[in-house]
């Protein structure tokens, strides 16, 4: 078994395990941090899939942006002292059953489904191509995304503004 | 007179609009709304004069396209079946306006709604387009709901919503049936005349699915049943009748009159207008159980229930259940006598029960209760009132010389040929009817005068004005029934001829 395969396994393991921690951890801080593991793992997977740019974005935005945001929120809303109530969960058993059933179904279907096969697998650097796409084919979505971000910004501001209008 | 039917239908609407525009002067409003019902009455008389009694088909037809894309037309017209009902409607709504002069609460709203109701009823009887028919049918519900609900008695809210839900239940089923018919006509249309013409196109072979397979029902039977339930609720046929006593007891007098006098007829009218000519096979198959047997059961059951009532108005209400049973029985017979008798019975019941409810209203306005046991010896106190009541009661009992007799005899005579046993049951209803009516007369009017009411004023002029025309009609039809029968005969025979081959 080649090194790359071993690395792949490792990354896969990290991803899944830390995702599991997010799901099961008793402490919200832990789950927040293990979320970091998942994000990193996913980034690694992107590398394996030859999507370097996406991997970069993943690291920048998820790890650098969203995760920090989440941690910030956690800190703000929690007295870290009391640990065991911070992240209670309920009805895990039924959830496990349902989700178990689901994951079984998913994997089974994935196995049997004849997914489309590309002609050849390319491992070129994608950044330039993606840049072109953004500015040519995907220009409209790109603009739209900016609008979304604008709206989100305004929304976030409005919502977290404390005082009532005079 | 061009478009006379349209005028008859929509003049009351205009009247309603005017009434709403009027200042809040009760007297004025009353008279204006009374005026709004006069033209339809005259037009009805005009129709009566100019109606060609020899011709079977529809007359005074008005036909305009309404929604071309769905082939919905504004089609109006009357034949012998509907013209009798139109006359009845015009007359009763005219009289009931006067019967409502006593209304004090929210007068404007009352009369506006009443006029709308009038329009709705008129429309139902004139419409020849199934869509139009349905629209009028439903339009009638809303005013009725408010009239019972706002101006009714103590339990008015319960009664109103019960009536509303019950009837809506029936009419949504009807809507489905109408659509099913629409998609099975070719070209798709709501024009009743075309549907009638294509009566034999509607499939009759047994549907494969449960439960129709077990019942040996075809498309026609399913549609027939769906329509029938809608109409049976209005008739009201057992077991769909329970809204009636509540609605009647709670409704103000005039509304009860309209309810019993006109609305109930819509059930049987609908069956004759749609089920018979459009679904002849199913009609032939279903008639015995669902019209004949059920009708006979209605007669006896209604009479028995009436006998046990303590409330005078409830008693009259149940008597309507019983009398509408004759209509169903007659329709089931498929004999000229039976069918004509049935429709004549519809007309007569309209006038007679109208009188009865008006009379109950008269006594209620004076005594402020309707407990049968609470009266006694009224005859000595209000002789004239007693006389009129006696007339109405005996008419309802089917005494010869009064209209009830003709229709009941015709119905029973007609039915005998097909179902002697049902006839015997129905005829035994006559005995029960006599029983409870006489018993009521005795308890209310005879015996020593009740001290409480010695000072009770005799029936007044306005009330007499509402009663006398009906009384006169009751006698005229009893003595010379051809007045009405001539109108019916041709059309009904035609309807009958459609079904008979499928028997």
């Amino acid at each position: 078994m080649s090194v790359s395969t071993a690395v792949f396994y490792l990354i896969a393991l990290i991803t899944v395990v830390s995702a599991g921690m997010v799901a099961f951890s008793r402490n919200i801080i832990y789950s927040a941090f293990s979320l970091l593991g998942t994000f990193m793992g996913v980034a690694g997977i992107y590398i394996f899939l030859g999507a370097d740019f996406v991997a970069a974005v993943q690291v920048l935005i998820y790890v650098g942006g969203i995760l920090v945001l989440i941690l910030f929120a956690v800190m703000l809303t929690h007295r870290i002292t009391d640990v065991e109530v911070t992240n209670r969960a309920a009805g895990r058993i039924p959830a496990l059953i349902i989700v178990g059933a689901l994951v079984y179904l998913l994997i089974e279907t994935i196995r049997v489904t004849p997914w489309v096969k590309a002609k050849e697998l390319v491992y070129a650097a994608t950044t330039a191509k993606i840049g072109d796409l953004f500015l040519y084919t995907y220009l409209l979505p790109f603009e739209l995304a900016s609008l979304v971000l604008l709206a989100a910004m305004i929304g976030a501001v409005v919502l977290s503004r404390k005082e009532i209008k005079e | 007179m061009e478009n006379v039917l349209t005028y008859m239908t929509f003049i009351p609407v205009a009247g309603a609009a005017i009434v709403l525009a009027l200042p809040n002067n009760a007297k004025l409003i009353r008279w204006v709304s009374a005026a709004a019902t006069v033209p339809p009455l005259f037009m009805a008389v005009w129709l009566f004069k100019n109606f060609d009694r020899a011709r079977a088909g529809f007359q005074f037809i008005e036909n305009y396209t309404w929604i071309p894309s769905y082939n919905i037309g504004y089609t109006m017209g009357v034949d012998g079946l509907s013209i009798s009902m139109v006359l009845l409607t015009a007359l009763l709504s005219f009289l009931c306006i006067f019967a409502s002069f006593g209304i004090e609460k929210a007068v404007k709203g009352y009369f506006a709604l009443f006029l709308l109701l009038d329009a709705g009823m008129m429309g139902v009887f004139c419409a020849l387009d199934f869509f139009l028919f349905y629209v009028f049918w439903e339009v009638m519900l809303l005013p009725m709901y408010f009239l019972i609900g706002i101006w009714g008695g103590p339990r008015r809210e319960y009664a109103a919503i019960k009536f509303f839900l019950y009837t809506l239940f029936g009419s949504v089923l009807m809507l489905l049936a109408i659509l099913a018919l629409y998609f099975n006509t070719n070209p798709h249309t709501f024009d009743m005349r075309i549907m009638m013409a294509q009566a034999n196109k509607f499939g009759t072979d047994v549907l494969p699915m449960w439960p129709f397979h077990q019942l040996r029902w075809g498309f026609q039977h399913v549609i027939w049943m769906t329509l029938f339930i809608g109409f049976a609720i209005k008739i009201p046929a057992f077991p769909f009748h329970t809204w009636l006593p509540d609605a009647h007891v709670e409704a103000p007098t005039a509304v009860s009159v309209i309810l019993a006098g006109v609305l109930l007829k819509m059930g049987t009218y609908g069956i004759l207008r749609t089920n018979f000519p459009m679904l002849p096979t199913a009609t032939a198959d279903m008639a015995f159980i669902l019209l004949g047997a059920l009708g006979a059961w209605n007669i006896i059951y209604g009479a028995l229930c009436a006998m046990a009532q303590k409330d005078l108005k409830k008693l009259v209400a149940y008597s309507s259940v019983s009398h509408m049973g004759y209509v169903m029985l007659g329709m089931a017979s498929f004999t000229t006598q039976g069918l004509n008798g049935a429709v004549l019975q519809m007309f007569n019941h309209g006038t007679i029960t109208g009188m009865l409810f008006l009379l109950v209203g008269v006594i209620y306005d004076r005594a402020h209760h309707r407990e049968i046991e609470g009266f006694g010896g009224i005859a000595a106190i209000m002789p004239v009132y007693t006389g009129v009541t006696a007339l109405a009661f005996f008419a309802s009992m089917g005494l010869p010389g009064l209209s009830g007799f003709i229709s009941e005899v015709l119905v029973l005579l007609g039915t005998w040929e097909k179902y002697p046993v049902l006839t015997i049951l129905g005829a035994s209803g006559v005995i029960l009817t006599a029983g409870y009516l006489l018993w009521t007369i005795q308890r209310v009017f005879l015996g020593p005068p009740n001290e409480k009411y010695l000072k009770m004023p005799e029936i007044n002029g306005r009330e007499m004005f509402t009663l006398v025309p009906l009384g006169v009609i009751v006698i005229i039809v009893g003595v010379y029934p051809s007045v009405v029968l001539d109108l019916l005969r041709a059309s009904l025979d035609q309807i009958n001829q459609v079904v008979i081959p499928h028997l």
Binding site: A23, V42, L49, N87, I130, L149, A152, G155 | -
Partner: protein, 103 residues
């Protein structure tokens, strides 16, 4: 299961997806629930990138993934803003009093 098989990536995606759903289901805590949502989004992204690598052969999938990441950020921002707003509300009012607001 190997790095150059489509299904292995999809399976990882499926597992992460399910874990995300599990989190959403079981967590009582809004922030945790949002974390669950993030997991779901990531699982979808894995699929997209994998498919764009193995199936479509063009970068559509990657583009999609990038947009998803953007929107995830936006959503997180709004979501946490709402959480904070509520937090402020509940700071001022004690929860017992809330009982009076029943329908």
């Amino acid at each position: 299961m190997s790095p150059n098989e489509l299904s292995s990536y999809l399976i990882i995606g499926a597992i992460v997806f399910s874990l995300g759903l599990f989190t959403v289901l079981t967590r009582r805590n809004a922030i945790s629930v949002l974390m669950g949502v993030e997991l779901i989004l990531n699982s979808a992204n894995i699929n997209y990138v994998a498919f764009s690598h193995f199936s479509s052969g063009n970068a559509d999938g990657q583009i999609y993934a990038i947009f998803v990441i953007m929107l995830a950020a936006a959503e997180a921002a709004v979501g946490l803003a709402i959480v904070l707003a509520i937090f402020q509300l509940f700071h001022t009012i004690d929860v017992e009093a809330a009982e009076t607001l029943k329908e």
